[in-house]
Structures are given as C-alpha cells and as structure tokens.
C-alpha cells in the first residue's frame, strides 16, 4: 500500500499548472505540499483524489483508499454534529462515530446543530470526518484554516496517530504543523510552462 505519483501534469481550466510532479508516499509517512497561492496545490490534491483527470503521468494508489478534505467541509447546517458524522460513517461503511467525536474534542457539541458552530469548530467537525472514512491516505487541503493553536496541535496529534497506524497523509499547508518527520515538497519548482496562445484546451475553461 503506497501512493506513487509519477511525472504528473495537472491542469486547471484547461491550462497546465503543474508538470513533472513525482513522489512516493510509503505507509506511515506524511508529505507536506508547499508553494505560493495559486501554484496548484488544490489542483494537485483534486487530481490525486480522482475529482479531475490528469493531463499526463500516472497516479498509483489502491482503489478507494483516498479520503479528500477540501476547503469546504461538507457540513449540513441543520443537522447536528453527530448526524453529520453519522451520515459520512454510513456512506463510507464504517461503524462508529463516537471515537471520532472524542478524538476531535467535539463531545460537548455533539447534539448541537452544525449551524451554531464557530468556524474553527466546523473545521474540527470536517476533520473528524476523515477519522470515520476509515481510509488510509488522507489528502488534506489547508486543514488548519481557522483552527486555534491548541486545535492545530490536536490535529497534528491525530495525523501522527494515523501515520503510526500505517496511514499516509498528503497535506497542503502554509503553516508549521509540528510534524518535523514529514517530508516537504516545494510545488513552486514544478510550475508548468504555459502553452502557446490558442493551443487547444480553450473549451475546457468553460466546462
């Protein structure tokens, strides 16, 4: 069980943003994706998660092994914290949400409708979803946005525990997560050259 990305070119709106991205993620390892805003971190994660096709290159990962967490947490405002998690647990076919609620310190909020949560609490709920997916590879897009320092440390602990159980994590972030053992991939160095004017792919921008 490894995630192997080989010479990957991915595009946004039909224009390549990253090319030649290669890395291998072994069990128990984390990889931090860094780079300036707009350099293609989200695009890379969405491509790896299978939400958009790549232009070239290969992604080798076992089927149904990646849990993707985006900027939006996919929380339904009128459902309670437990109901939100329960839905994802049933969708992913895993059993219990109780452990995830305790791990992300959501116990006191468990029966509250999600619309009454603060931004940071919503984020914790979004991250608790990762725990109920039961998937080994986490692809996380700026997971620490709106988290306070304690919650960032809590989250780093959760990631570390996941790694210790043989999981993997691919994290796009700008801040120091406190995971010194993680490798860092600078995406700025893989910036794609723009194709010449009018060279195909124009329709793609509207799809």
């Amino acid at each position: 069980m490894t995630l192997r990305v080989h010479d990957l070119t991915c595009a946004r709106g039909g224009l390549p943003v990253l090319e030649g991205v290669s890395f291998t993620l072994a069990p128990g390892k984390a990889l931090i994706l860094r780079g300036p805003n707009g350099c293609g971190k989200t695009t890379l994660l969405r491509t790896i998660a299978g939400l958009q096709p790549s232009i070239a290159g290969e992604i080798e990962a076992p089927a149904d092994s990646i849990a993707y967490a985006a900027h939006a947490d996919g929380i339904k405002a009128v459902l309670s914290v437990t109901e939100n998690l329960q839905f994802w647990a049933e969708t992913f076919g895993t059993a219990s949400v109780e452990a995830a609620i305790d791990r992300m310190k959501l116990r006191a909020l468990a029966t509250r409708p999600a619309q009454t949560l603060s931004a940071g609490q919503k984020r914790r709920l979004g991250l608790a979803r990762l725990l109920v997916t039961g998937r080994p590879i986490w692809a996380l897009d700026e997971p620490t946005v709106s988290l306070d320092t304690d919650s960032v440390a809590l989250f780093a602990g959760v990631v570390r525990a996941h790694l210790e159980q043989g999981g993997m994590a691919l994290i796009a972030t700008h801040i120091d997560l406190g995971l010194p053992e993680a490798q860092v991939l600078e995406l700025g160095t893989y910036k794609a050259r723009l194709p010449e004017e009018g060279a195909g792919g124009f329709d793609e921008a509207f799809l």
Partner: protein, 218 residues
C-alpha cells in the same frame, strides 16, 4: 445509499429545507384558477386536467435547483464523488428524494384539488395514476438539468429553460390520460407512452447526469 436518502429527506423536512414549497405552489394555483376563470363547472371541468398537470410540472420545477446546488456549495458533492458510492447511484437517490418530497405529495393532494376544479368523477383514478407514473420522470429529468447547471451562480433560469422542453412529452401524455379518462374514452395509448417516457428516463438519465456532474466538478 440508504444514508444518503435519509439525509436528503431529513434535510428537506427540517427548517429551510424547501419541503412544501412545490405543494404550496400547487395548492395556490388550483385555488386561484377558479377565481380567475370563473365558477362555471363546465369550463373548469374542461380545463381541469391540463391545469392540474401544468401545476404539478411547475411545482416540480420550483425545487429542482436545490437537488445538487446546496451540496455543491458546501462541498458535500466533492466528498460524495470520492465516497465509495457510484455517482450514478448518488444521482438516482437524490432524484428519488426529490420525488418523495415533491412529486409524491402532489400526487396525494391532487384529488382534493380536482374537487376544486370540478374534475369529473371518472377522471380521479386516471389523475392519480398518471401523476404517479409521470412525476418520477419530472424528478429524474430535472435532476439531469440540475446536474448540468450545478456550477453556475443563479443557474435557475438556465435550468428552467433547459428542462422545460424535456418536460413537454410527459405533460402532453399525462394531461391526455386525464382528459380522455374524464370523457370516458380509452387511455391505453397515452398511458403506455407516459410510462415509457418515465421508464426510459429512470433507466438512462442517471448515467448522463453522473457524467455531467463529473465534468462540472473538475
């Protein structure tokens, strides 16, 4: 998949879920038509099948854009697309949830509204049967339109324009079943065409919807 259906039904009946919107529209239309057209039973009985079917169709149209737009905005659709459920099943389940919260209530109240419009007694059975057979097609075709327009801001207008032409066969055959039934004629042909459209839409359109959703999620 059961979880998704239950979640969608729960979301629809909780505050702000939009359940009852189509139903209220249907009621208002059927109450206003006798006031606008005049109380003559003969006139009303003549137009009742058409009015009830047009009302049901427009009521369905009202809530279509919610099928995927809400899930798209809060990111659930991305997460559902990466979940171990085929997107075709997600689309079908969401169309089913839309039918249960919109189409089925319309079917159930239609006899009461038929009473307001002096629908002839022999047409009630055909009204219920035609709506029962026809409204699933409205939900499935509508979910295809909703999938096409999911990424667009304020895509409601475009959605209506795209979907209305596809609704016309269902409307024509559905209203035909009721008006032929009201006149005591045989309804076999329009009824089987209506059922055929629904069967075809339910069988084929989820694949098309899933395909356009994947493109829209890029």
């Amino acid at each position: 998949m059961r979880a998704l259906l239950l979640r969608d039904l729960r979301l629809a009946i909780r505050a702000g879920g939009g359940f009852g919107l189509g139903l209220a529209f249907f009621l208002i239309l059927a109450v206003l038509v006798p006031l606008g057209v005049g109380p003559e039973p003969d006139t009303l009985a003549l137009i009742a099948p058409g009015i009830l079917w047009v009302g049901a169709l427009l009521a369905c149209l009202l809530s279509l854009d919610r099928i995927f737009a809400l899930d798209f905005e809060d990111g659930s659709l991305d997460l559902l697309a990466t979940a171990p459920v085929p997107l075709e099943a997600v689309v079908s389940i969401k169309a089913l949830a839309h039918w249960i919260t919109t189409g089925l209530p319309l079917v159930l109240v239609s006899p009461v509204l038929g009473l307001l419009l002096f629908l002839p007694a022999e047409a009630y059975g055909w009204l219920i049967l035609s709506l029962l057979l026809g409204t699933p097609a409205l939900s499935v075709i509508g979910s295809f339109g909703a999938a096409l327009t999911v990424g667009l801001k304020r895509g409601g207008l475009l959605l209506s324009l795209l979907v209305l032409p596809l609704y016309i066969p269902t409307l024509v055959f559905g209203a035909e079943v009721v008006s032929r039934g009201a006149q005591g004629l045989t309804v076999g042909t329009p009824l089987s065409l209506l059922a055929g459209i629904t069967a075809g839409a339910v069988a084929l359109l989820p694949f098309a919807s899933a395909l356009v959703l994947r493109i829209n999620l890029r």
